[in-house]
């Protein structure tokens, strides 16, 4: 069931991405982009990796090349060792001033021939790889369907990116989750015996004259307060006695406890347990050096 749900979710994501970005390009769209974003010359080494429509990288297939120009919407680059190239998602690593790669997720919009065994590509900053590089997708978030802290994209996408050495893992948080299903619990003060949240503190009376301390029920007699120890009648609060906070009584199981305990209730499987029995899990997120075209475009 879990695998099936994951597969459906992945398929849905692929369909959505195909709808959003499409795989067909036209000269007219390319021309309109060219008009919208002025181009600036940029001669840098690039490394490109192809990706599937859900963003999974073909991490072993690295293609070297160089950029020709950059705009706010995309890049023009030349990849060596290829005479043909299919349109689709691509991850491009552009060498920075210190020769370290900065990554951009792009979608190939235009494929042209170049001198020698090379292709010239016109790419825009969009597509599934661009989606993976979105900061919101690099940190796990609460998933509304199962109330777990998970990534928005399938795990294999991140694994392929991590294997390719692009994503770097770091510890983002450490949280308590249900020890049975891993979902997020809610916490309440509850009964240590049955873990129920319904209960109340008993009210005690301290009779000054004889130091007797007992529950209010023990003092109630014929609609007046009478001390069961010394038989004093018609006691007056403040002058003869004071109220004290007594032990906690559970409505569900009737247990009387010294104090309440912090009880966790899982929002996923509705399992209840003491808070100290929750599982502690590390939340890992990803970091990536992202290519920003504005760094290369003069004002």
């Amino acid at each position: 069931m879990k695998a099936l749900a994951q597969q459906e979710r992945t398929q849905h994501l692929v369909d959505k991405l195909q709808q959003e970005f499409g795989t067909k390009t036209s000269q007219s769209t390319d021309a309109s982009n060219r008009r919208r974003f002025p181009r600036h010359a940029l001669m840098r080494r690039v490394v490109a990796l192809s990706a599937t429509m859900d963003g999974t990288l073909y991490e072993t297939e690295r293609i070297e090349g160089q950029t020709w120009n950059v705009s706010a919407g995309g890049l023009c680059l030349e990849l060596k060792g290829r005479s043909q190239f299919e349109q689709g998602p691509l991850l491009v690593g552009v060498a920075g001033p210190d020769q370290s790669l900065q990554y951009a997720g792009v979608l190939v919009r235009h494929v042209g021939s170049a001198e020698g065994n090379a292709v010239q590509l016109g790419v825009e900053f969009s597509g599934p790889t661009h989606h993976v590089l979105d900061p919101n997708n690099l940190v796990p978030a609460l998933q509304p369907d199962n109330l777990k802290i998970e990534f928005n994209l399938p795990e294999r996408v991140y694994q392929s990116w991590e294997r390719a050495g692009i994503l770097k893992k770091f510890l983002a948080d450490r949280i308590q989750v249900c020890s049975r299903c891993g979902a997020i619990p809610t916490l309440r003060e509850g009964c240590p015996a049955c873990h129920g949240g319904r209960g109340a503190c008993d009210r005690l009376i301290h009779h000054f004259a004889c130091a007797h301390v007992a529950s209010v029920a023990d003092f109630e007699s014929d609609e007046e307060i009478t001390c069961p120890k010394c038989r004093s009648k018609q006691l007056v609060v403040g002058a003869d006695f004071e109220f004290l906070r007594g032990p906690y009584n559970c409505i569900d199981c009737g247990a009387s406890n010294t104090s309440m305990e912090s009880i966790a209730h899982c929002m996923g499987c509705h399992h209840r347990c003491p808070a100290d029995q929750l599982s502690q899990v590390d939340i890992w997120a990803y970091h990536v050096p992202r290519f920003d075209p504005l760094d290369f475009i003069p004002e």
Binding site: H206, F208, A209, A211, H212, A214, K229, E242, L244, T258
Partner: protein
């Protein structure tokens, strides 16, 4: 000088000797010495016959009821942490309830540090209500079979809790009294004298009183009560002297009170003579007149259905030696001063030598039973001063008894908060 004393004693006629003996009797020494000689002789003979000490520690701790230690205190922030630590891990079925009785010195914050420890519960009362109600306040929070009260400024020996619960395997036992030792024994002469006195009166005195069936007190510093018995007598009454009062009410309910000499508690004693005098005045006011002569006088009523001879003996002893003798001692001294002022020096010297001899016998008897031989030997170094110390305490006792008889001064003691002592029953 001793030659002169010998000549003076040999010149006394039989009436003078009788007077001298009477003086010794009212000074309290001979009765204790006599009892110790009797029991000591019996135990030595028993030991020689069976090679087994008659009175010793429990060898097997095979009785393990659930225990709740209640630490009730007001402004005990400096000591409560050490007390809790001394208890933790010393007994398997242990819960500790700390009751902060309206403290203003940060005791609540200190106690709260231990609130997350397993088995430790901290209860706060914003307004001070007195020690008795603080102890009673803990009872609804526990279901333990044995309730142990320990002073918040004391600590117990390693096996103290194990020792004190063993007598409760006998269902007729309602309460057990432990031994209290002075923790700061060698801080000053006053604490040294008190340490010696505690050793004689609490360690030895209560053990022998138990064997005679007349034990009437369990120290509030370390005592254990059966929960069902506490529920029956409805807990502690308003103090001071609430420990004595509770013990007598447990006796009245028909239960036995036993002494557990090797369950030990170490507590701090007053370090100055003035503080000691005030403490003893408060104890005496709250003890003999208030409880033995007034509140629990019905224990000696032979027409009562609950009348028991050992209760009668217990009360008679208190009346005679704690009320009558100190009073007679004052009259006796006055008469002596009037009758033979020229021989007063010899007389005092004779009393001193006799009292010292009796005290030495008592001190020797301690070593038949003690497990702290070196410490007790050190304590016995003050034996030469003990007769004078007892005389001073007797003065405190006369003052206290008089104040309580005439003005019920124990009800003015700020040991209990004003709103409680103004409403409590005046016996």
């Amino acid at each position: 000088m001793f030659l002169d004393l010998t000549h003076w004693i040999s010149s006394l006629n039989r009436w003078d000797v009788l007077w001298l003996f009477l003086g010794l009797v009212i000074l309290d020494g001979p009765r204790y010495t006599f009892i110790r000689i009797v029991f000591g002789f019996r135990d030595i003979v028993g030991y020689l016959c069976t090679s087994r000490p008659v009175w010793c520690q429990y060898n097997d701790y095979d009785f393990c009821p659930s225990v709740c230690v209640v630490l009730a205190g007001h402004n005990e922030g400096a000591t409560i942490g050490r007390t809790i630590e001394s208890l933790e891990g010393t007994y398997p079925r242990l819960e500790i309830i700390v009751v902060d009785d309206g403290s203003t010195d940060g005791m609540a914050q200190v106690a709260d540090r231990y609130a997350n420890d397993a088995g430790v519960t901290v209860l706060h009362r914003p307004n001070r209500g007195g020690k008795s109600s603080a102890l009673n306040f803990a009872l609804p929070f526990t279901t333990a079979e044995i309730i142990v009260s320990v002073d918040a400024d004391s600590h117990l020996n390693d096996h103290g809790l194990w020792e004190i619960v063993q007598p409760f395997r006998d269902p007729s036992v309602g309460a057990a009294s432990a031994t209290v030792h002075v923790r700061n024994a060698f801080t000053s002469l006053a604490t040294w004298m008190q340490a010696y006195e505690y050793m004689q009166c609490i360690f030895m005195g209560r053990m022998l009183a138990d064997r005679m069936g007349v034990l009437s007190i369990t120290s509030g510093a370390f005592a254990a009560m059966r929960r069902s018995v506490l529920d029956r007598v409805m807990g502690w009454d308003v103090g001071p002297g609430e420990d004595l009062d509770l013990t007598m009410r447990i006796r009245k309910a028909g239960y036995q009170i036993v002494s557990v000499p090797y369950a030990e508690c170490f507590t701090d004693a007053p370090t100055t003579w003035g503080a000691l005098f005030r403490q003893r005045r408060r104890w005496e006011e709250a003890a003999v007149v208030r409880f033995h002569c007034r509140k629990h006088v019905d224990l000696a009523d032979p027409t009562s259905k609950r009348f028991r001879w050992n209760d009668f003996v217990m009360l008679s002893e208190a009346w005679l030696f704690n009320v009558a003798c100190p009073l007679v001692a004052v009259i006796y001294t006055t008469v002596l001063l009037y009758k033979s002022p020229s021989h007063l020096g010899y007389l005092i010297l004779a009393y001193y030598i006799c009292s010292l001899a009796l005290e030495l016998i008592q001190a020797a008897s301690v070593f038949l039973y003690t497990i702290h031989v070196r410490r007790d030997l050190m304590l016995c170094l003050v034996v030469p001063l003990v007769p004078i110390y007892h005389l001073c305490l007797m003065v405190a006792r006369v003052v206290s008894n008089t104040r309580e008889f005439l003005w019920r001064s124990s009800y003015e003691d700020n040991f209990v908060p004003r709103h409680v002592r103004e409403t409590t029953w005046h016996w």
